[in-house]
């Protein structure tokens, strides 16, 4: 059980860093995509 807890703790760390990156992106990045930048077929194919 300890090992599984360690694994989940690392997952928490990963998700936490992801959240920080999201905040960083919200702070200085572009919030909204323009009509030309919205996902198209390339994204669907990926």
């Amino acid at each position: 059980m300890t090992g599984i807890k360690v694994a989940f703790a690392i997952a928490i760390a990963g998700a936490g860093i992801g959240l920080l990156i999201g905040v960083f992106n919200l702070n200085g990045g572009k919030w909204k995509l323009s009509a030309a930048e919205k996902p198209k077929d390339v994204h669907v194919a990926v």
Binding site: T2, I4, A11, I12, G22, G28, K32, P39
Partner: protein, 252 residues
């Protein structure tokens, strides 16, 4: 251990030198990686989405080691996460296509995912079905919302001729993170399990409801297995496999 660390550093150096040497043909093109949207997307894919794959790798181990589930049933118990992620991913694409709001959705998904991993951390050896199903559903919603956003953001801010390169860069970072987290952490968890098993007094307390398990395996027990597996004798199956095998390797 020292060999692994030295090998890791040496491989990173070789990778950087090789990428620099390749220039525009590299997996990580320096010109594109310098863009904010690209390196932020790579970082997000490597951390947040890496944690999704870590959870999806560890949960079946949890179900098997703690819940005494079979390998097949551990996959069935993972379905709430998979289904929720799939539906949420489709909804995320539809929302972004309709509104263009990608970054707030990324933040929302990351928040929900973080809460879900925290809740999954609280799973113990004696949980009700509601807990592990609910936590997986919540996590699936969070990860699904934010899953495609790194690729969408990177592609949206790239020129048409660079779309394939930035997509490859984000996916490369995602794959590296998946393997790094999955291999190292899962092996760590297994080594911990071997040396630190559950106390004897708690081993019989299975976190999964028996009635739930019986309901899930009902089609297998009543329909599939008796009709397809029992009548087929093992030697005939082995012979057919061997014929196929020989056919595959027959020189032409």
């Amino acid at each position: 251990m020292a060999g692994l660390l030295v090998g890791f550093v040496a491989l990173v150096v070789v990778f950087v030198v090789w990428e620099w040497y390749q220039g525009e043909r590299a997996i990580v093109v320096p010109r594109l990686f310098g863009k904010r949207e690209v390196w932020v997307s790579c970082g997000f894919a490597g951390t947040f989405l890496g944690s999704y794959y870590l959870v999806i790798y560890v949960l079946p181990i949890y179900f098997q080691a703690v819940g005494d589930a079979s390998p097949i049933m551990s996959g069935v118990y993972n379905l709430p996460l998979i289904v929720a992620t799939t539906i949420s991913m489709i909804a995320s694409g539809a929302i972004i296509s309709a509104t263009g709001l990608a970054v707030p959705l990324q933040l929302l998904g990351a928040s929900i995912g973080l809460v879900a991993t925290g809740l999954l951390f609280t799973l113990d050896s004696d949980n009700g079905v509601g807990k592990w199903v609910g936590f997986q559903l919540l996590g699936g919603v969070g990860w699904g919302l934010a899953f495609q956003i790194p690729i969408i953001m990177a592609q949206a801010n790239a020129d048409p001729e660079d779309i394939s390169s930035v997509t490859a860069m984000v996916l490369c970072k995602l794959s590296l993170a998946i393997e790094k987290k999955r291999v190292s952490t899962a092996n760590l968890s297994k080594s911990f399990n071997a040396s630190d098993p559950l106390p004897l007094s708690r081993r019989h307390k299975r976190p999964l409801s028996t009635s739930w398990r019986r309901r899930c395996t009902l089609p297998l027990r009543t329909l599939i297995r008796p009709r397809w597996f029992r009548p087929a004798p093992l030697p005939s199956v082995l012979c057919s496999l061997r014929v196929r095998w020989l056919g595959l390797w027959r020189p032409t």
